[in-house]
Symmetry: C2
């Protein structure tokens, strides 16, 4: 048998799994957007059953046999001759995944999926009712399962490493801690500088805007992005998210806060960034890791790119502000520059997804440290609200008056996603590094964006990042695109330059 035929067999098995993953994503999407609330019990069963089946296929003997024909599972050495570079990369990633997948027993995966599916609904109620106690027993169970997961997966240094690896394969708790320490120092210094200055005025951002107008604005901003509307759609959910079933079916959601229309706009830009990444993955390698996203950090670099680097820039609003003023006539008396300063107001606040660019990573660092403590066992779930509030006070100088605005704000823990949060901060660092390379090539990017041209940006991202799939890991990619390793400097210098202008220092 020629290696290309063996590869094709493996790809077919993998493609089958990918389609089941897509179906699983639809079950989640539906649950968060349109599902009748009483359907939750049956949906939990469906998700648990399908997840277990996918896990069986990923770790099954059929897949193993097909994989072993082409690569040694123990050494990672390719066995077949004549494999192309991209085929070797696929094999490398398949092997890594297979090894990780076979560590978790099917029964564990099923339990994990069932518990978290129910917990997500409970979390939504608990958040609505500001009732942490309602959620606590579910979270306890999830922490317990996550610790068990870390133990099963194995780790050298910290159990948290095993969880982090699931979202950001080239990272360790130690590496992240070092970068976050440097980042925190810089952010705190910048925040002090800003606090000493006169605060910008943003009252006009908090006029009430109705649901209908906000959805119209959301759709308008989405449609003006270089995104193919035949492959996406926008819905409402409790927490904005993006979910891709395929490069040709990549959906986003937003949420509406009546007194913060700008939050909806940034949610749309953010989630559209994720969606464009998925839509830029090469369809022709569907079923292989070459048409999958590298990692959550790189994913987040794409969403933050559109939300912040582009979406909070002056050139972007030069192009989009007139249309917004038309939809919100009250803004007609607010000049562009004042609007731009307002949407970049820096002020330590309670909610991560509403945070400004300077304090955002501090929210993440709070979660990163709490997660480590929960997983290592040094913090108990019952003590979590107190620990949360203490850390918020320490890093941001604010204390949530309710758990709804505090420890209950994010959906992630109900989904069992420990290890996920750090990628939000890392995404900003990757984005800033990519942007440096982009701005070096397109020295006229500000003029072009101000004129409403966004397509060249997507094309650059597509070529440099999207189309690579998992050919490289995150560290390799940033080195390839920018010539430098991951670090916090590009992000910090971007922030310093930008906010010196806005706050006049």
């Amino acid at each position: 048998m020629r290696s290309s035929k063996q590869f094709e067999e493996l790809r077919e098995l993998s493609s089958e799994i990918q389609y089941y993953n897509a179906i699983l994503s639809l079950l989640h999407w539906d649950q968060e957007t349109h599902m009748p609330p009483g359907a939750i019990a049956s949906r939990s069963h469906q998700i648990a059953q399908l997840s277990a089946m996918i896990h069986e296929k990923k770790s099954g003997s059929k897949f193993k046999a097909a994989l072993e024909k082409l690569i040694s599972l123990s050494t990672g050495q390719p066995k077949a001759k004549g494999l192309s570079l991209t085929e070797r990369a696929s094999l490398r990633e398949w092997r890594k995944e297979y090894i990780r997948a076979t560590k978790l027993p099917v029964s564990f995966v099923k339990t994990f999926s069932q518990v978290t599916s129910e917990a997500t609904q409970i979390w939504a109620t608990a958040k609505k009712q500001n009732n942490f106690k309602l959620f606590a027993p579910f979270l306890e169970k999830i922490v317990e399962l996550s610790r068990e997961k870390a133990k099963i997966l194995g780790f050298e240094d910290h159990p948290y490493d095993a969880l982090l690896e699931g979202y950001e394969p080239c990272m360790t708790t130690h590496k992240v801690s070092v970068i976050f320490k440097g980042l925190q120092k810089e952010l705190t210094r910048l925040l002090q500088k800003i606090k000493a200055k006169k605060q910008v005025e943003d009252g006009f951002l908090h006029e009430k805007v109705g649901d209908k107008t906000q959805m119209e604005i959301g759709h308008d901003f989405l449609a003006k992005l270089p995104i193919d509307m035949a492959y996406t759609r926008l819905d409402l959910s409790a927490h904005p998210f993006s979910i891709a079933m395929h490069p040709q079916d990549s959906r986003i959601t937003t949420r509406i806060i009546p007194h913060s229309f700008i939050s909806n706009i940034f949610s749309v830009l953010h989630e559209a960034g994720h969606a464009m990444y998925e839509m830029g993955l090469p369809v022709e390698t569907w079923g292989t890791p070459l048409s999958e996203a590298i990692s959550l950090s790189i994913h987040e670099s794409q969403s933050r790119w559109w939300e912040t680097l582009i979406g909070r820039s002056l050139p972007f609003w030069k192009s989009r502000y007139p249309a917004l003023q038309k939809m919100l006539p009250a803004l007609k008396k607010v000049p562009l520059e004042r609007f731009h300063r307002a949407i970049n107001k820096v002020s330590p606040s309670l909610i991560r997804v509403e945070a400004d660019e300077v304090t955002y990573c501090l929210h993440v660092i709070v979660r990163f440290e709490i997660e480590q403590a929960l997983i290592s066992g040094s913090l108990q779930v019952n003590d979590l609200p107190a620990a949360w509030n203490a850390k918020m006070k320490e890093y941001l100088g604010v204390v949530p008056p309710t758990d709804t605005e505090g420890v209950l704000q994010d959906v992630h823990w109900s989904l069992g996603d420990f290890g996920y949060f750090p990628t939000y901060a890392l995404g900003n660092l990757f984005a800033a590094q990519f942007f440096t390379a982009f701005a070096k090539k397109y020295t006229d990017w500000e003029q072009r964006v101000a004129a409403g041209d966004f397509l060249f940006i997507r094309e650059w991202l597509r070529e440099k990042i999207h189309r690579c799939g998992r050919m490289y890991n995150a560290e390799e990619l940033v080195k390839k695109v920018t010539g430098k390793h991951l670090n916090e400097r590009a992000y910090c210098s971007y922030l310093k330059k930008k906010y010196a202008k806005i706050y006049n220092f």
Copy 2:
């Protein structure tokens, strides 16, 4: 091993299949309601893959072995002792299904599913563009596959029997032909009587009503029915349908015709009737045939019950008309009786789903005869529009000016649902027979409905029909509930009595 433990094992296998069927239903629901149009190719793959997997499980050796422990596949004789009546009924149905399922090879099921999934999209475009030629090659392929299906499934008399059995297990082409002949005679006679009378005026039903108002009306009518809103939802689609994932997740869609708001209302009542049936199936026997609908005809009896027997009755509108007048102020000058006559106007028309109660079954008979001809090979797809138009002229006296309003109007053939249409007419006959028994018990039903009480109706349906699941077949059920076999007399006498009043003869 005790028989109850063996039964539990079988039920678990069956329940797993049911959950996969539910997931498959969600893929279809999403495709028809919210899916981005560009996702169709990947969705077709998902549906084909999942359908094939379900088919494998249904016809697999694991299921067979579990089934054979309890019942003889060749004779249908139960093997285990101590089985309850309901367990015996489940085994009977499981055996029947297994035998049917094992006749079709996996590859055939996969092809059928893939072809029809794509054809459904093509049909929608062809209908929109009045372009039968676009759809014809797909339909040809589907007819060919359906004939192959009939051959594989086997039949004694007519290949159409094999297809009909899939929707209405206790029917044959011959039985249906006999009933339809009698029905057609009676309907034609009644139609002549009506045609001789002065036509009712219904211009006010065709004032333009916007999408938003129509959706509000749809939601209002749905909410006033005895349906639990926690388990259902209403969306828009090209063709109204209902789809159930579980008794606790049973969804409906409607469509909006700007110049026929009443069409939307009747769609909602119709689909809600289907949804209430599914929601009334016993959750406690989930996974067995005892929590499944009997057949399409019985399903249709439930939808037509709410759409016509209740929904087009004077008492119903005594209760609901004031609210409708509030939502559509132009109706304030139209008295209730005039409105009631208008919504019961009899007039041979082009579109089945818009047809009145007298001509509705004639539309079905046209399709029944054409389907037989296509399947037997006496009619070619290319000659279909001409054959359609000729039959419409013969039975209804009208000829569609476009294929959009003619042969392309229904989605069924694109889905490969040959044998489905007759159940629409049979449903009316079953409904009328059930209604006779209902009205005998509740002699005051008109007063109660006029006062806005609908719950007692649903309770009666739930007790007599919904909760039976597949304990009985359709013929047995109608005998049990009404004391009579299926016949067209109850329906014809209901129509004669009703329309004598409306048309004064």
